[in-house]
Subunit: 198 residues, 4 copies
């Protein structure tokens, strides 16, 4: 194998370690020296692997897409009912709240950093979103993509409110309520469909 593999692998390792830093400090407030120090390398080394701070950050976001934090998928697929699958998914979310918040924050940082227009052209965030959407379709076995999207919006909004207001917003309560609302809606749909059929 050529050296390129090592190079690329090391680059990803560095990116991984940067993740928390950007989430905690924000793009602008985080300096290259801070990053270098936290990673235990010199700024020179940083510039050996990334052409600029912006490049480093963009690669970080791009990398985020590929990180399959939805590796929990397998567990869910065995569950028989939609209700159970949603419950498991929400349970995962609750257990990984910190990480999910970070992703949300970094996405927003990216948005601010790039400027609205660029972001929407840049495929990165769109990809993250689509990726997650597809994962949910597969895992929840719910075909209605509008509903998937609704869930995603709600979840991201909930994470945001949790940042601002902390425990004043109950994760457990809100997730339980949403499950109730959604299942009620789906049941009703089914009933109506059956009624239509009948």
């Amino acid at each position: 194998m050529p050296k390129i593999v090592d190079h690329d692998q090391y680059r990803r390792e560095l990116l991984n370690q940067c993740f928390d830093l950007f989430a905690e400090q924000g793009y602008a407030a985080l300096t290259m020296r801070q990053i270098a120090q936290a990673l235990g390398v010199s700024t020179g080394t940083l510039y050996h692997y990334f052409s600029s701070k912006e490049d480093l950050f963009e690669q970080l976001v791009a990398d985020m897409v590929e990180q399959d934090i939805y590796s929990f998928a397998a567990e869910l697929e065995k569950l028989p009912t939609f209700g159970e699958r949603l419950e498991a998914a929400f349970g995962f979310l609750e257990r990984n709240e910190a990480r999910c918040r970070q992703q949300t924050l970094i996405s927003i940082e990216f948005y601010q950093q790039q400027g609205a227009d660029k972001v929407q052209q840049n495929a990165a965030l769109k990809q993250v979103s689509d990726h997650v959407e597809q994962a949910l379709v597969d895992v929840l076995k719910l075909e209605d993509r509008r509903l998937i999207r609704l869930l995603m919006c709600f979840v991201d909004g909930l994470l945001m409110h949790r940042m601002f207001e902390g425990e004043a917003v109950s994760m457990t309560e809100q997730l339980a309520l949403m499950r109730h609302v959604i299942t009620t809606y789906l049941d009703h749909q089914q009933v109506r469909s059956q009624g239509d059929v009948g």
Copy 2:
């Protein structure tokens, strides 16, 4: 005699004009010189009214609380059914999407700027949230605060996804779906309640 200036009023005027700037550029990327230039004053004047960039920003957020963008309340209260009231509220949201996005962005900026701990202690954002919550309770005539909170999370999440993905996420579609989901849920609740009663 000094130049006659209503100090406090002028300060608010300056704050108002800053709002867009912070939402567009973000706290860190926006310089005091840029602000001064955009407002048509000197940096010295800025420091005459605000003791620091941070102070300016904090006042901006504090001011945001008091701005009653939910002045649309009056119109809604006359509407007879919950479905109509929710539709009207969502209509307002759609028409004022830009402004609402800005508020969301600035809140997040504030979160990053202040650090998680401070933010949750700081009354400001909590107030915004409570204020909006109460307004929705009054206007929608919906007593279940958990549901109100759910709606708020969803709406903020939707705004966020709209930022990242633009028109790829349909505001109209999502809002309509949510209305459907919620009314279905409420109807079902009522039915069940009546069933309980009967």
Copy 3:
């Protein structure tokens, strides 16, 4: 009397009140706003009486010359021996150490502010010095101006060391020693002179 008298008198009053401020903070560290605030006037008023900060400071130094802090002279003249007169003069110095230090500090500030060349051309500090020298000649009834100058140097040096080292340098002890040294010297001179005569 024309208004000029009032104007001039007020100007002097302002100068007087500035004295401590400059001694405590130093020229550069003291701002016009601070001065204005301390004097209970506006910066505008300050500029009505003084054309600039530099001008204010120069006038302050010039004024210092004319302030006869050596008004103690009268008391001394009645004392019969040189030793007693010197003792009284040093006693005055000890009681007014704070004020004397301030004068010294302000002189040095002036020196730094003006630049070495200007200072020596500027009559101000030279005048203070000559003024004091003459006062001492008259009061101590000691004709030898070289000795007067030596005393002045010593006293200023002592004040300086007291600033830096505080009570680690004893004012009382040093002044007493100098009195002893000087009177010994003068006595010896006299003896020798008499010996020459005889």
Copy 4:
């Protein structure tokens, strides 16, 4: 491998070159840009070696302590009489007047910059003083520390007067006179002691 630079040595070199600047301009009037320019480096480099302007200045003063400008000591010790030793010491002073003035000025600047309380706690200036005092005790072979202190006060005062009044105060004359006064005093002391003994 990094550029090979002896950090500490270079830092001292920079400090050395700063000395004159601070003495000439004073702490407040001297800007970091001016310093950088004078030293032929960038402001960034300055901040690489010193954490702030204040730190730079404090290190300068601390460094001043260790600079043994009293390296002339060896020459003096061979001289047989106190009179000759004092003459040689004053001769050295006269030849190094410029440097000595600078030290005095910088000490005063330090005093103003730090505020009276801090200065007296700060060991730096006290050390300079003690260091010089001990050197004089050793070199002049004069045990009476009060007299050493008196000489130091006089010398510093003389330097100060020379700054303000330039050649109007004669260095040579004043130093000669002080020598005369002191030797007369010491001779008299001896005579009296012998008288006591006899």
